[in-house]
């Protein structure tokens, strides 16, 4: 099976702090790959690394067989047209209507007539169920609608790869259900590859074809949804069950409380 993204022995650190230590990861074409892990381990950073916005310290990242790391600027920009990213906040342009937002990548990268662009935009908005909201401003949308509008923009150019950054964070159950359904549908209908970065275990396990779990700068578990559920690793189980204490400790590393309160300062 072809992989659209390959990450080989990649190490990345930011301002002296190691974020990833020698990780390898594969994203097979046409599948939904989920990357899960506790908050604050830099899952978003992973997507930025794949998008070439950040460069790793060591190792290689390949998109469709070509190394992102060693690309020059113009090739990188060309490659980025084949991928798109759904940001956590949606990142809609606040000075444009929903319609203009979705039309934006088309206007920037194609020379289509505005009639054709309007048609494409209407179709994309129809796909996410927001055709009726085309003339609203982003500030008039609810969080879930904003994310769907951003999704319509992300698929405007029919990319090969869509990266979802925490698509379910802060959503009510209904919007969450809508987004889960959309991700699955778009993946199957458009034949794109999806990477979903999230910490919402239950939702993502229902749609993901392959799952990576990251913690402590490393990948601690991988496999299909079924394999992950049955994993014997205590770390993976803690994450899936949402236990407060376990291999990922409840306490931030500190002195013993007794020492801190009663002990002499050493």
């Amino acid at each position: 099976m072809d992989n659209i993204v390959d990450i080989d022995n990649m190490t990345f650190s930011r301002s002296g702090r190691v974020i990833y230590n020698d990780i390898s990861l594969k994203v097979p074409k046409g599948k939904i790959t989920a990357v899960m892990g506790p908050s604050g381990i830099g899952k978003t950073t992973l997507l930025r690394l794949i998008g070439g916005q950040l460069a790793p310290d060591a190792g290689d990242i390949r998109f469709a067989g070509e190394s992102i790391v060693s690309m020059n600027r113009s090739t990188l920009y060309k490659t980025r047209r084949r991928m798109s990213m759904l940001f956590q906040s949606g990142a809609l342009f606040t000075d444009m209507t929903v319609h203009q937002n979705v039309a934006f990548p088309l206007k920037e990268h194609t020379r289509l007539d505005s009639d054709i662009i309007d048609t494409i935009v209407a179709l994309k908005l129809q796909a996410v169920g927001l055709r009726g909201a085309a003339n609203l401003m982003p500030s008039e949308l609810s969080g879930g609608m904003a994310r769907r509008a951003a999704l319509a923009r992300a698929i405007a150019l029919d990319p090969d790869l869509i990266m979802y950054d925490e698509p379910f964070a802060g959503q009510d159950p209904i919007s969450m259900g809508v987004l889960v359904k959309l991700i699955r549908q778009l993946n199957d209908a458009l034949g794109v590859t999806s990477i979903v970065v999230t910490h919402d275990v239950t939702e993502v396990l229902t749609i993901a074809d392959y799952v990576y779990i990251m913690a402590d700068k490393k990948i601690i578990g991988e496999g299909t949804a079924e394999q992950i559920r049955n994993s014997e690793s205590p770390l993976v189980q803690q994450f899936l069950q949402g236990e407060a204490d376990g291999p990922v400790p409840f306490h931030y590393p500190a002195d013993k409380l007794e020492n801190a309160l009663f002990g002499e300062k050493t």
């Binding site: 998008g51 916005q53 940001f87 990548p105 951003a150």
Partner: protein, 258 residues
């Protein structure tokens, strides 16, 4: 860290930020050839230039009026109130026009530019542009830079003209200075090249610096609410200091030595 270390670290980070500012400006300036950017620049000229018109016109009018009033009370003691025209015109064209416009511009438009770009960064709009294979330097920064660079000298010219008319209003219409001597003495002492021309050169320099600072502070800010508010303050403070400092240097170069 001991004080000397932190001083050094501060200096190094300042130099690095000047470097980043230069790289950013370079990236923005070399975005001229894109015709798609012209409507965007026009749109920004509306935001940056047209929306600053009111404050510029009102300030110019009042500064001209105040100068006429102050100048008159001093000049009338020497029976030289006819020289009110040259006094108002020369101080506006050489100094106050470019400088006050630049200061007002930094407060009105510069801070808004910083906040806007900073918020675009904080809400990941810049990142998402980049992921859409659209260079934010070209799409966002360049139009704003050119709009500011073009608008400010225009505003300075309007400021000076309105100020001279304001001086006329107070000096001639109210205090009774002879209209003929107001204009004719002005005409004999103001030179197009050295006074108006140098004023325009000054405001071009200020426009470059103020717009550059405003855009860079926004582009380089920490994308948090605290970071944006800090960047906005820095824009106004740094721009004002840069304008006043540069004004001295430019004045010395232009008018200081015959």
């Amino acid at each position: 860290m001991n004080p000397i270390q932190s001083l050094g670290a501060g200096a190094i980070s300042q130099v690095a930020s000047i470097g980043r500012a230069g790289v950013m400006l370079f990236g923005a300036i070399f975005a001229i050839p894109r015709l798609k950017n012209v409507p965007l620049t026009l749109q920004q000229m509306f935001v940056v230039g047209v929306q600053s018109l009111l404050i510029i016109v009102v300030s110019g009018l009042f500064i001209g009026m105040v100068m006429a009033l102050q100048g008159y009370t001093i000049l009338v003691d020497y029976g030289a109130e006819g020289s009110l025209g040259p006094m108002v015109a020369l101080s506006l064209l050489r100094e106050l026009g470019p400088v006050v416009t630049a200061l007002l511009f930094a407060g009105r438009a510069g801070s808004a530019l910083t906040a806007e770009i900073g918020l675009m960064k904080a809400t990941e709009q810049l990142s998402s542009l980049e992921m859409m294979a659209v260079d934010p330097l070209r799409r966002v920064v360049a139009p704003r830079f050119w709009a500011g660079f073009i608008s400010m000298p225009m505003l300075a010219l309007i400021f000076s003209s309105v100020g001279i008319l304001g001086g006329h209003l107070v000096g001639v219409d109210w205090l009774g200075v002879d209209a003929g001597s107001y204009w004719s003495l002005m005409q004999s002492s103001v030179e197009f090249g050295s006074d108006i021309g140098n004023g325009i050169i000054k405001s071009l320099v200020f426009a470059l610096v103020v717009t550059w600072i405003a855009i860079f502070r926004g582009y380089d800010c920490t994308p948090t609410s605290e970071g944006i508010s800090k960047a906005t303050t820095q824009t106004v403070v740094y721009s004002s200091l840069a304008v006043l400092g540069l004004d001295f240097i430019l004045t010395a170069l232009m008018f200081g030595i015959e």
